[in-house]
């Protein structure tokens, strides 16, 4: 089975993140950049399937040159190789533009299954699997908490607020996963060493036959008009106990519908 996993490098959600003042895009230069957390679950799922049924796992990343570091890290978990789409003209691409590029890259690869995280911690649109499925004409099974592969039949438990739905499709298909699906492995020391020698194919927009004007800031269908930092946390409300502190606390909790 040939599996492609979409991997995105994002600013670490645990550290200070900001948008650039000039064009409203994510400031990658001043952030510490990591593999999008949910993508690690997609990689783990791909490796488990490949280990159980045989197959090949390829990573696909769109991002600046510096994303190579995250690709190597992801490769150290065990995938066989990676494709890195990088081009200066990609800077500022919107979700639609990104999906155009990733779809073009996927068309150059053979795949039975595309796995990705259900969302990225920077964009958070959750739309990429749907957009790719539409462009490629394949089914999208999104938000999986469990995936079973039997031949070309893919069965997914799709996580919802109330519980889960069971959905099924015939591959090739795109499956996005939540962090409930597995526990990603740590890279091993040998894996880290091996990752240094694994192939990373670099592709430009020209290689994929995508016009530079259709993507990047120039081709973006949405634009950040303004942005503001989240306000600092306010001090909260203090209940002074002058004999009826208990009643005041309950009144507050009740008013806020906590009790």
């Amino acid at each position: 089975m040939k599996i492609v996993v979409l991997v995105k490098q994002v600013p670490d959600s645990g550290s200070e993140r900001s948008l650039r003042a000039d064009d409203g895009t994510v400031d990658r230069a001043s952030a510490s950049n990591v593999i999008n957390e949910m993508d690690e679950y997609a990689i783990e799922e791909a490796l488990k399937i490949a280990e159980a049924q045989g197959g090949e796992v390829t990573l696909l990343t769109m991002g600046p040159d510096a994303a190579t570091e995250s690709i190597r890290k992801a490769l150290s978990m065990g995938p066989d190789g990676a494709v890195h789409v990088t081009d200066d003209a990609l800077h500022g691409s919107c979700a639609l533009g990104t999906s155009k590029v990733l779809a073009a890259a996927l068309r150059t690869l053979e795949f039975d299954l595309v796995l990705c995280g259900a969302e990225s911690t920077d964009g958070r649109t959750q739309t990429m699997p749907h957009m790719l499925a539409e462009r490629l004409g394949v089914p999208a099974l999104t938000g999986a908490r469990k995936l079973t592969v039997e031949g070309s039949t893919l069965t997914v438990e799709r996580q919802t607020d109330e519980g889960y739905e069971v959905v099924q499709a015939t591959g090739p298909a795109i499956v996005s996963v939540w962090d409930t699906i597995n526990e990603p492995r740590y890279p091993s020391f040998k894996g880290i060493m091996a990752a240094k020698k694994k192939p990373i194919a670099t592709k430009s927009l020209a290689d994929l036959g995508v016009e530079a004007g259709e993507v990047g800031l120039a081709g973006a269908t949405s634009k950040v008009l303004s942005s503001a930092k989240r306000p600092a946390r306010s001090g909260g409300q203090k209940v002074e106990d002058s004999g009826n502190g208990g009643a005041d606390l309950v009144a507050y909790l009740s008013a806020e519908k906590f009790v």
Partner: protein, 380 residues
């Protein structure tokens, strides 16, 4: 605190990065609760084995990473700075792999090393006896060849991983008195007559199981003899030289953890409207602690480099073990002092560090034995 390190290779840097990631995610959050409960973190060791951190010095052919001691010891140091029980377990396990890895037949190596290095099999090292820890050359556990099996009788003491281990290196007497009559047997945990006893109730490293191992007519197949009869003492001593460096590295890591905690506390704690680190009495105390930690680290690494370069390192290892573990005792005691009353309660880890440090002055040769090794080398 970030420690500036000069590493021999890019892969060593990657290894230390992986170690730090694992130590932060898998060790640090669990240490206090496991120690409080006295629970051995067997699964954590499996995780380290799968990541390739067990058996770092051994041949790649058997799943090792062929890393120099200089690098292995820095891995141990980082693990020890997050959880000493785990670092000690890695050190003991690495030591337990040593006899087979260095002196074992190809068959023993191929059969056991990959699983031991991969973390699936846990090892123990049985040298000390109730009557003699330091005087290992006069051990009394006896093994008599009966057909194609050794019949072993005796009692081994202070055995780390007793009851949890999958294999035991049993040092026993197959010949006459003295060091030349000692051999090493590689025994399975399931060996009939090999019986781990009740766990000792220890002062520190409460997560680490330690007990006597009784051998009552234990029958060990003759092909489990490591390296031939009579070379057991040679194996034990060369393993211990390396093991001493492991304990020294653990001491550096533990002391670093105590120092870091004390510094953070002293920066956050105010008395008389002043951070207590800004009082010279405490600031200088912390400065001395930091200096001692750096000195011990330098000594451990200098000795490791001697070993890696094939130079004699036995006496230097004794010095490093002596200095680093005495240093750890002093630094952890001072860390408790920096925290004052808070240092004495279980809510902060420094009292645990202090209890743990004491062990390091005793194991792998007491610090009195180290001084003996050093003074004898001077008297020659």
């Amino acid at each position: 605190m970030t420690v500036e390190r000069i590493l021999p290779t890019e892969e060593a840097a990657a290894l230390l990065e992986l170690t730090t990631e694992l130590a932060d995610a898998e060790l640090a959050p669990r240490a206090a609760a496991f120690e409080e409960r006295g629970e051995f973190p067997r699964e954590v060791l499996r995780t380290l084995g799968r990541a390739g951190l067990l058996g770092l010095p051994y041949e790649e052919k058997y799943g090792g990473a062929a890393q120099p001691y200089e690098v292995y010891l820095q891995v141990l140091e980082i693990l020890a700075s997050r959880w000493l029980t785990v670092a000690e377990a890695v050190s003991v396990h690495t030591l337990a792999c040593y006899p087979v890895a260095m002196y074992g037949s190809e068959e023993l190596k191929a059969r056991f090393l990959p699983d031991a290095v991969g973390g699936e099999l846990l090892g123990a090292y049985c040298l000390s006896e109730p009557a003699g820890g330091s005087d290992a050359a006069n051990l009394t556990t006896k093994a008599v060849l009966d057909g194609d099996e050794y019949v072993v009788n005796g009692t081994k003491a202070w055995i780390t991983h007793a009851g949890e281990a999958d294999f035991y290196n049993v040092f026993c007497r197959t010949g006459g008195p003295g060091p030349k009559g000692i051999s090493c047997l590689f025994a399975d945990a399931s060996t009939p007559g090999l019986n781990p006893q009740k766990r000792e109730r220890t002062m520190g490293l409460t997560g680490s199981p330690v007990a006597q191992v009784a051998l009552d007519d234990a029958r060990v197949p003759a092909d489990r003899l490591v390296g031939g009869e009579g070379i057991g003492f040679t194996i034990a001593m060369s393993a211990l030289d390396a093991g001493r460096l492991g304990i020294a590295a653990c001491a550096v890591g533990l002391a670093q953890a105590a120092l870091d905690y004390a510094v953070e506390y002293a920066k956050g704690r105010e008395q008389f409207n002043t951070r207590i680190i800004d009082f010279q009495g405490l600031g200088f105390m912390l400065a001395d602690m930091a200096t001692q930690v750096s000195a011990a680290r330098a000594m451990v690494l200098a000795t490791a480099r001697l070993r890696d370069n094939g130079r004699p390192f036995s006496v230097e290892a004794a010095k490093a073990k002596l200095f680093a573990t005495d240093m750890a005792m002093k630094v952890t005691t001072d860390a408790v002092q920096v925290l004052g009353g808070y240092g004495y309660v279980h809510d902060h880890p420094v009292e645990r560090y202090m209890r743990e440090a004491k062990l390091l002055q005793i194991v792998e040769g007491t610090n009195q034995i180290q001084r003996l090794v050093i003074s004898r080398s001077l008297a020659k």
